[in-house]
Symmetry: C2
Subunit: 384 residues, 2 copies
């Protein structure tokens, strides 16, 4: 039995991916660009064991077994990785025929789904990266990113640390739609991130579904794709290379807003921001009145990610904690004829339930054997 | 002393006016189209007295005297109307030289500003219409709308009943930027409106200021102006003429959403919708699942206006009352060391404080003498 364990990081886009031109191959309508956040704080961890004696492919996600054959996109990643391994085995008879072995996969996020943070990017990146290590694929990270892309579009960007572009490409087979590193994490170590988890009970539109509704119905989307994003990509790459926070911040905020604008221009409209999200935006713009000190961005949910130079972070944390105090438990006596009384949690107008302070960091890591999620029988050490 | 009293209605746009190409003459960046709501429910009322013995122009707005010379846009309307009167007097010596008399103006809205309903359109329309009656101007309503436009852009649309387009025009002097009636109020009597006043403490960006920020900074605005609105104007006019509620409703909702999308694409972004506004949108889309029965639209604030055929209104009113119950007074015991207790009003997540059920109706009305807001001395009968 061969077993490999890896972690992969979360990435948060500053130029947003929203819309596919090919939903099967996951080819996007525009380039995007993200920052890789530290795995010390947020990561997906995957162990894969391959063994001649395994009878079927098995998958445990966050401690729960799932039917691997029903997950078509994950299945595509396996197919691609196995085909590459098969080719290597065909060329060298000394290699163990791992491509013919069934695998057991166990994957976990170190953050609760309830935190409202997208886990598909780090999850699929961890899977594909672990497969590449298991099969000892002789492949560049950009080439590997084409496989991860077919599992979850933005997963391709989680294969690099630092600042990462996903080039949309133009080939119809997706061969040139891949991630490239614009600058490593060491390039701009002062840049840090604060994830503000916004309390919200509502379940939003899934991004897979939502983005195609935008492509189909938003009459403003074409202008974004054809004119705005290409210009912003060029400008923000230059800003990153120059460590020009002002330009980086303005483009980041404008692109977050435009992404949510085309969501609102979708029919029926899609809303991910809530009143707290918008209040955080106002606070940041107010804070930036005398010079740009922080930049917000929002993915397909109400949580804010604030990018800022390290020196501003203590002030920003105090600011958010002050304006968006965490929920309190309150005794509520409603004046009615029955006059009942109960203790319920009340979310004050605008509350942030959790703050995660993190930084720009490296790409996927391979861990030591004793960090494996599967035991020597290839079964999860922990179940939900 | 000559005294005239008139009322003018509120209009709610279905194709939104947002952006000026000339801020002095108030020339818009695109055509817009609105529905005139009944003055029985919402109106601005204006009395103007002109008298040889008045020493200066005086103005009372909602019972408070204001400096008429400081209100440049209102001043422009006076200048234009007086010039037209002057021309008539020059041509006929029998006419009383009213253009040389000072005037007293008293104007009131029958709805509180706190209701969050724009009053500048009905207010300026009432002023200009009353001036036209006072001076007995021989002028078409469309020509008069060019004067009202210079007081407040959307005021030009409140000079007609029914369904009204504001044609942006192309002349640099604004001579062809005017309102025209697409269909009178009698054309589609089944169409009614429900104004949902959404509780909101926040004060938003003024529309005068906000729209120019959008023109200057939104990278999606040009697509809206050049492509989307011209097509929508043609389609919604046809839908109105055909009394085709499905098409009317879809264009109305799409255009409201796109207006708020370009607000969000403005930098810094502008937000007028709050969580309650967005929840009402979701309820309407859910209600429309098996056929379009209602259409929402939002101006520069959180209040919804719902257009629907009369037969659906009872159901819609029950729906809104059910999901957005009005605020309740609640005794709140916060668990702290000091353990204090107080009674405060609590707005449940999503509350509508007031519902106004109204219909499509006529343009400005001239009232009888005893309805005047000024007494025989030309002073307000009521002060704030």
């Amino acid at each position: 039995m061969r077993t490999v364990t890896c972690t992969a990081p979360v990435n948060i886009a500053v130029i947003k991916y929203w819309g596919k031109r090919d939903t099967e191959l996951i080819l996007p309508t525009n380039d995007s660009l993200s920052v890789t956040l530290s795995q010390d704080i947020l990561h997906s961890k995957t162990t894969i064991s391959a063994c001649k004696s395994f009878e079927q492919d098995r998958l445990w996600l966050n401690g729960k077994e799932e039917d691997i054959t029903k997950n078509r996109r994950m299945h595509n990643c396996f197919r691609e990785a196995r085909a590459l391994r098969k080719k290597m085995e065909d060329e060298s008879s000394e290699l163990e025929p791992l491509s013919t072995y069934k695998v057991h996969v166990c994957s976990e996020n170190n953050f609760p789904t309830a935190a409202g943070l997208a886990s598909s990017a780090s999850g699929l990146a961890a899977l594909v990266y672990t497969l590449a290590q298991l099969y000892e694929l002789q492949i560049s990270t950009s080439d590997l990113s084409r496989i991860a892309r077919q599992g979850s579009g933005s997963a391709c960007r989680s294969l690099f640390g630092g600042f990462v572009a996903w080039e949309m490409g133009s080939a119809s087979d997706g061969s040139d739609s891949k991630a490239v590193q614009i600058a490593p994490e060491t390039h701009w170590p002062e840049l840090e991130a604060l994830v503000c988890v916004v309390s919200d009970a509502k379940k939003g539109t899934s991004s897979t579904e939502g983005m195609q509704h935008t492509v189909e119905t938003s009459e403003l989307m074409q202008a974004r794709i054809s004119t705005v994003v290409p210009q912003r990509m060029a400008n923000i790459k230059q800003a990153i290379l120059n460590r020009d926070f002002n330009t980086f911040a303005e483009i980041t905020m404008r692109d977050s807003n435009q992404f949510h604008a085309v969501c609102l221009d979708t029919y029926p409209p899609i809303s991910y921001l809530n009143d707290t999200s918008r209040a955080i935006m106002r606070v940041i713009h107010e804070y930036n009145k005398d010079g740009v000190k922080a930049a917000y961005t929002y993915d397909a949910g109400p949580n804010a990610v604030i990018y800022a130079p390290r020196e501003n972070m203590p002030e920003i944390i105090r600011l958010i904690a002050h304006y968006f105090p965490p929920p309190a438990t309150i005794t509520l006596s409603i004046i009615t004829r029955s006059s009942h009384k109960k203790v319920i949690p009340i979310f004050p107008a605008g509350s942030v339930s959790r703050l995660l302070h993190t930084k720009v960091d490296d790409g996927p890591r391979t861990l030591a054997e004793d960090e494996a999620l599967l035991n020597s029988q290839g079964l999860p050490k922990r179940l939900a």
